[in-house]
Symmetry: C2
Subunit: 404 residues, 2 copies
């Protein structure tokens, strides 16, 4: 059996992305989601000639004629309608965020003033045009796109939504995901396992990894019984967009998943990838009605580290491409010591990262293999070592998959 | 008035951290929180000699005596009690995740077998001790610390919590935070501003930034009226641990915050920092009863970019130190082009980041000043340029504050 390479596997997966449409949500809940509309400037930015220092507003003409003492006519507060300077020889006190009063074109800040008996005396040689004034439309003009469609929403975008009055925003709808663990050896977190049992953990790790993508997945556990598996998976295929399995995809007598999926009409696109950990990974899709999304099935091996890396390496980019997030540059890190790995497989090496002077270094924290869940604690990322080499030299750069 | 330097300001803030205690929460809700207990291995990892490949379990003694065909006695499934090999010349089929049957010490995988009529024929020259067996306690021994106190919880930790049966975990309690915006020019997001008004945005940006730290902050807006400010702030000082203000800390006629805070017994620790943007930043604390937490007040300037950078530069490290998260290495980036900034201030330059071959580069995206909210969209981070230089050369490394 020829194995699918990591590159081929990822290409097949990215060739099977799905568009789950758009929903409108409250802008304050949108951080981490993908924007599905262009956000336009509803007004000029700033919307008026805005005072940017506290001080007095004057007409530069008077100042340039040599005048240095100005009678204070009034106060232009932020949030008040625009005043008009009645006498060109006077001034108006003006506050940061206020409109520049009509008839004034310069703000002189308090630091350069002495105010006494209703007069402001200026200690300044010359003024610049519109000094301390943030001119209307200088930042952005009304109607321009402030945030383009397909932006990942961060706190910076939240501020812009608020400013332009977008209390509701259109975002990519999330796929409905069911995470299924299998295996008779698994008991619940709250139970005490017998000697031959262990607690169920992969499903929860996957839930947390998907939560990072703001996907609220559901979970289910099914025992190693072919008929039960078939009936439950059939229901899940009807009710969910994506199924993620953990376990039962290898060569064991009770590894029914590939067989059951086949019987339920899920077409295998590959099984077994030239990688460690995670070699028994199975991926397939089920075609549905023409106007509906195909069902996507990621069946990851049951070892904890295999499930973990497979989710990062395959599910995440599948999701990001599905919601049309422009695919981020693949991050890379510099190997900090020589490493040797013989098998002719892509190796996902667990590494501890540290950044120094703008450079990202990766130190191997290899652990005891794909079952060594606790070793994930001691690392931050996986370094992806290609299958065509065995000696990996200190100082060489490789792609990384971060999980912290 | 001498300005506080950025370094001094941060040192004062970090000297005023508070311990808000511990709470116990459901393990699945704990991602992003700070663990406040050591997590121990409740059993050996793995808890038994675990089969790591599907195949047959044999006694190496028989194999080493030249035997290559083994009668199959039974099947050791994952999740079943341990079987015992009845006859040393026989074998037991054994599945990944199962206990190694008693009397066996080697697993030979299916790929190397031919099974016919109840007999497994082995195509293999030699076996290694315990091959394809993940030995009991190899990864971790019962009783060792798997996750130390004060770890930031990620999906990797979730898997370990589940495995050791920690359905509830102790985490740092979050401070109760009230975010207060001020300014008569501000209207709500859902309202249409008059010409001299703008919509309220900083409070929401701050909410989103704090949400990243898993703090659910509340918000309030107060008009520029000294008595109203005083009465509301007094209430907030009683009900919240931390107040964050945006606006009314500069020299304007309605910048009542420093005065009101002083009257309410909040001690100013500094006002005005040698930085751009964000110079008018005010910070203080109010001492309370001996066994209670002091109240912490961050009063940021009202310009959107000032508020944003101040939260990243000051509130975030204050929080991280308060919950005892070992302070991450300050990330740095390499300036990708020459930059010039004259004033004798620390300058937080907005930059666009890109990573290439393990190196992080920062390209200036300076924008139109502290009011240019939309420019935050075009950048990813702030590069912190020190106050003792004016020429910043391409290729030099500076600290960064990331917000995406």
């Amino acid at each position: 059996m020829t194995l699918t390479t990591v590159k081929e596997a990822l290409a097949i997966i990215l060739n099977n992305t799905e568009d789950y449409g758009v929903e409108e949500i409250d802008f304050l809940n949108s951080v981490g989601r993908i924007l599905k509309e262009n956000i336009f400037a509803d007004r000029d930015f700033p919307p008026f000639n805005r005072v940017s220092m506290d001080g007095i507003a004057v007409a530069s003409e008077a100042f340039n004629n040599g005048q240095r003492t100005f009678k204070i006519e009034g106060v232009q507060a932020a949030g008040s309608a625009q005043l008009t300077l009645q006498n060109k020889q006077n001034c108006i006190e003006a506050m940061t965020g206020a409109m520049l009063p009509n008839g004034c074109d310069v703000i002189i800040q308090y630091e350069l003033l002495t105010i006494e008996n209703g007069f402001a005396k200026v200690n300044l040689e010359e003024v610049k045009d519109f000094q301390n004034v943030h001119l209307k439309g200088l930042d952005r003009k009304v109607g321009v796109i402030l945030i383009p469609r397909n932006t990942l929403i961060s706190p910076a975008e939240i501020g812009v939504f608020a400013t332009v009055g977008k209390s509701k925003v259109k975002v990519a709808k999330q796929p409905k995901v069911m995470i299924v663990s299998t295996g008779n050896e698994l008991v619940e977190v709250t139970e005490t396992p017998a000697e031959h049992q262990i607690r169920r953990s992969n499903a929860y790790t996957l839930v947390s990894l998907l939560e990072r993508l703001h996907i609220k997945a559901e979970t289910s556990h099914i025992l190693d019984d072919k008929q039960v598996l078939k009936s439950k998976i059939n229901t899940f295929l009807n009710e969910y967009d994506v199924l993620i399995f953990s376990g039962a995809v290898s060569k064991g007598k009770f590894d029914f998943i590939p067989e059951v999926l086949n019987e339920l009409g899920v077409k295998k696109l590959f099984h077994q990838v030239k990688q460690r950990p995670g070699k028994p990974f199975w991926f397939g899709t089920k075609t549905t009605a023409k106007d509906k999304n195909n069902k996507i099935v990621f069946a990851f091996p049951g070892n904890p580290v295999s499930t973990f890396i497979s989710c990062l390496k395959y599910f995440r980019p599948w999701y990001l491409k599905s919601v049309e997030l422009h695919f981020e540059n693949q991050q890379q890190a510099i190997l900090s010591e020589d490493f040797f790995f013989k098998p002719n497989l892509t190796y996902f090496l667990q590494v501890k990262l540290h950044q120094k002077e703008g450079k990202l270094y990766a130190t191997p924290a290899a652990g005891k293999g794909s079952g060594d869940l606790a070793n994930l604690i001691d690392a931050d990322a996986f370094l992806e070592l290609p299958d065509d080499k065995t000696d990996f030299k200190k100082g060489t750069v490789f792609p990384i998959l971060l999980y912290r």
